[in-house]
């Protein structure tokens, strides 16, 4: 691979599993990956907010990616992880995923934009190809958008 050209256009993604599907999360947002832990439920919030956890002395809200995306509710296993993402505006937010697989580098050219995302696909902004198959790139801003 020509390194010079990949540096400018490639992005690293953390590949997570939700059910059988593989999703990519832009690594520049990722702050931390922690094991599933006890959560404190918060009343009067949206159903996909599972609660808050203590991350190094900070209180961080955690959401169920599955519920938010309209999938089956989470089944906690030993592989379940919380990916802590950091957003400029909202601060730290945790996302529960079934498993964290690997980190891949995808060339921006190889990611196909999803044509005019309708409601079902609002959370996927593109599809990339890796050696193991297709990876749906998550639209993180849509995930934390409370309107959707």
């Amino acid at each position: 691979m020509d390194e010079l050209s990949t540096i400018s256009t490639s992005i690293q993604y953390i590949v997570v599993k939700l059910g059988e599907e593989r999703f990519g999360i832009n690594i520049s947002y990722v702050d931390n990956i922690v094991r599933m832990q006890r959560m404190t439920r918060v009343p009067e919030v949206a159903s996909y907010i599972k609660g808050v956890i203590n991350l190094r002395g900070e209180v961080v809200p955690v959401m169920s990616t599955r519920i938010k995306m309209g999938l089956e509710p989470d089944v906690e296993t030993s592989a379940t992880r919380i990916i802590i993402l950091k957003f400029e505006q909202q601060g730290y937010i945790g996302f529960i995923v079934d498993a964290v697989n690997e980190v891949v580098t995808l060339n921006a050219d190889t990611i196909e934009k999803v044509a005019d995302s309708n409601k079902d696909d609002a959370f996927v902004q593109g599809v990339g190809k890796s050696e193991d198959g297709l990876i749906s790139i998550l639209n993180l801003n849509a995930l934390i958008d409370e309107q959707i």
């Binding site: 006890r38 959560m39 404190t40 439920r41 918060v42 009343p43 009067e44 919030v45 907010i49 609660g51 808050v52 956890i53 203590n54 002395g57 900070e58 209180v59 961080v60 809200p61 505006q89 909202q90 601060g91 730290y92 937010i93 934390i144």
Partner: protein, 707 residues
């Protein structure tokens, strides 16, 4: 000279001086003959002038210079204080404040010269007595200058003559002479009110070193840096410039009272090893020298060299500010410290939890130490809190002036009475509380108090009274704004609310008096029939309320038509760490601030009554509504609930009480309040979260929202 590094000091001190001008002027209006006050004002104006001059703010310097002139006349008894003069002085203060604000924002004073004010001041000067112009001269410092330059050879002015020169210095001086430079001796006297003596001295050194070279100083530079000197110091410098230039440079530094100097005669100076001290000095001078080196006090207290300002020296003890040993600290540094203390308390809590779990007997030593740690962290927290606390005085001190202006503007007679100015609050709260308080005061002045005629008719004293009282109550600070005016006309409020479409007519009929009064806090509500520029634009009380609530405080109004109203603001002492009662509800842990808890009761289910379909209990004569936290928090009900008894936490908000039904009490704990973050701030009853000893997150209930 690059002065940017002193900008902060300048701004801070200018602020203080402005305040110290404002207060006495208020006093002066009441007691025009008060000499202490006049001197105090004179000093503040003089200091401001010096500071502005040093920093190169010419407009500010000019204005303060003229103010100083006026006061020097007042001090000499040539001008009597009149009310219109006070007005002009206050306008000057406003102008000065405008300058400092400009400087704060852009480090430039702006171009406004305030000629009209300067003219007004000069009019006052000229309108004094015919002789005033002639007398002005000696009172001004120019007189002191000439007198000082004349160099009377006694007292402290010539302290520089007694600097002992070592071999090294003599050599340097000799060299300098050969190069055609002149050695000068200077004695600098700093004002006794100066707080940062070392900084002033440093500025003097810096100013002189731009013109020449400082050879030696008494006390040594090290001692001067450490502030180990009284209010004067002497130095010997060599320079190619004339003496006047050096003296002017040194005088340019603010808060320098006087600089004297002369050309150093190497032969007559006392050499350390030499015995020719008496070369041209009389024994009397030697005595002065001995005193000045051993008992600097005598130098300081030496009578002012001339009769120009005898009052100054005599009156000083009365008005002299106490010099505290204080440090100015950036509030951000305190925030960092506070955060660290929070972390420490969390760590301490985990340690307490961990030590509680282990076998008690073997670990008694650990338990002991943990307990000790607990008490230390608590004291540490308290100390840091105290450091952050400032008296509300800094905010309320501007109000008497404001009320005075309002009184003139509105044409009503009123007096402001304040108490509890020394009540302390967290710095961040004090910074924010000014505007809401100002608004409430304006509100009282404008809407509350009636005009003098109406007051007379109603048999009230013509002069209306507004009270501002602050005091501490438990973990809260209460600030009350009270007036003896008309009170709130609930009918007028209701009519207005209906007219504005805030409520419907039917709603209005069913509202209690209290609910109607609460309408005042509704956005876009103003009952003033005429919009004045004092209040009445309808952007007031709702802003007051939201501001206070953002500080975790609350506002309450009590009013009696015809007798006046009381607005009370309740604020928590601290925002970051609270003492809380830990309870469980449906197996989940919650914290309730101890500040809002009245009592904890064991209530039998039989005693619950239904009033308007709501559960209430009777407790010591009052009816208290019950709030089941399981319902509010949507928490699961435990199957092993006690069928007969309920644990009820009675919380209070102002006069209102409510009983919160919980499952279990866990005990009291110091908790650090953490924000839930911007992402989930929907939940009103939860005011934050805290991290428990075992790392678990517990939510903090806001009892105020529930009541």
């Amino acid at each position: 000279m690059d002065v940017s590094q002193y900008l902060d000091i300048f701004l801070a001190e200018a602020g203080e001086h402005l305040q110290s001008l404002s207060d006495p002027i208020m006093i002066l209006e009441q007691e025009p003959e008060n000499e202490d006050t006049i001197n105090e004002i004179f000093r503040a104006a003089h200091s401001l002038k010096g500071m502005a001059g040093t920093m190169g703010y010419k407009n500010m310097q000019n204005l303060t210079h003229d103010m100083e002139n006026v006061f020097s006349e007042v001090r000499n008894g040539n001008i009597k204080i009149k009310s219109d003069m006070i007005d002009v002085l206050f306008q000057c203060l406003d102008a000065l404040e405008g300058y400092t604000n400009n400087i704060r924002e852009s480090s430039d004073e702006g171009t406004e010269t305030n000629e009209n004010l300067i003219k007004a001041l000069n009019d006052i000067l000229n309108g004094g007595t015919g002789a005033s112009k002639d007398d002005a001269g000696p009172a001004k410092e120019s007189a002191e200058e000439t007198k000082a330059a004349a160099g009377s050879s006694d007292s402290a002015d010539d302290a520089w003559k007694h600097i002992k020169l070592g071999d090294a210095e003599t050599t340097v001086l000799g060299e300098a002479l050969k190069q055609g430079k002149t050695p000068y001796g200077l004695t600098v006297k700093i004002q006794e009110s100066c707080i940062l003596k070392a900084a002033r001295a440093f500025l003097v050194f810096k100013a002189i070193e731009e013109l020449g070279e400082v050879i030696i100083s008494d006390p040594s530079t090290q001692d001067i840096e450490d502030e180990k000197f009284d209010f004067d110091f002497s130095l010997i410098a060599i320079s190619e410039k004339p003496l006047d230039e050096l003296i002017t440079a040194a005088k340019g530094v603010s808060e320098i009272e006087n600089v004297t100097g002369g050309v150093l005669d190497l032969d007559s100076t006392e050499m350390e090893s030499d015995e020719d001290e008496e070369a041209d000095n009389t024994p009397a001078v030697q005595e002065t020298k001995a005193e000045s080196s051993h008992e600097p006090e005598t130098v300081k207290n030496a009578p002012a060299p001339s009769g120009a300002a005898p009052a100054k020296a005599d009156k000083k003890p009365a008005g002299k500010p106490v010099v505290n040993r204080t440090v100015r600290v950036d509030i951000e540094k305190l925030d960092v410290l506070m955060n660290l203390v929070s972390e420490l308390i969390i760590a301490k809590n985990s340690l307490v939890a961990a030590s509680g779990n282990t076998e008690e007997r073997t670990n008694s030593a650990i338990t002991e130490q943990v307990e000790y740690l607990e008490s230390v962290t608590t004291s540490l927290h308290e100390s840091v809190m105290k450091v952050r606390m400032v008296p509300i005085e800094s905010v309320v001190s501007k109000f008497p002036r404001m009320i005075r202006d309002l009184s003139k503007k509105l044409g009503k007679k009123m007096e402001l009475y304040m108490s509890g100015e020394d009540t302390e609050l967290d710095r961040t709260v004090v910074d924010e509380i000014g505007d809401p308080l100002m608004h409430l005061l304006r509100n009282s002045a404008d809407h509350g108090l009636e005009s003098a005629e109406v007051r007379k008719e109603r048999g009230k004293p013509e002069v209306g009274s507004i009270f501002l009282d602050a005091y501490q109550e438990g973990n809260n600070v209460i600030i009350e704004v009270r007036d003896d005016g008309n009170g709130i006309d609930t009918e007028a409020v209701k009519a207005k609310a209906i007219e504005r479409g805030v409520i419907t007519a039917e709603q209005g009929d069913n509202m209690s008096e209290k609910e109607i009064i609460d309408l005042l806090f509704h956005a876009g509500f103003s009952t003033a029939k005429v919009v004045s520029d004092v209040s009445g634009r309808g952007v007031g009380l709702d802003v007051v309320k939201s501001k206070i609530e953002s500080l975790s405080g609350e506002v309450e109004v009590k009013s009696k038509l015809g007798e006046g109203s009381t607005w009370s603001i309740r604020l928590p002492l601290t925002l970051a760490i609270i003492q809380a009662l830990m309870v469980t509800v449906g197996g989940e842990k919650y914290a309730i601030s101890l500040g809002s808890i009245q009592t904890i009761e064991d209530i039998s289910r039989d005693s619950i009554k239904l009033v308007e379909n709501k559960e209430v209990i009777h407790l010591r004569g009052s009816v208290i509504p019950l709030i089941d936290l399981h319902t509010v928090l949507d928490a699961p009900r435990l199957s092993d609930e006690d069928p007969e008894h309920l644990i009820v936490v009675i919380v209070k908000k102002g006069d209102k009480l409510a009983g919160l039904v919980v499952d279990e009490l866990m005990g009291q704990q110091e908790v650090v309040i953490k924000s839930l973050g911007k992402y989930i701030n929907k939940c009103k009853v939860i005011s934050g979260a805290t991290i428990l000893g075992d790392g678990e997150v517990a939510l903090i209930l806001d009892a105020n929202v529930l009541i």
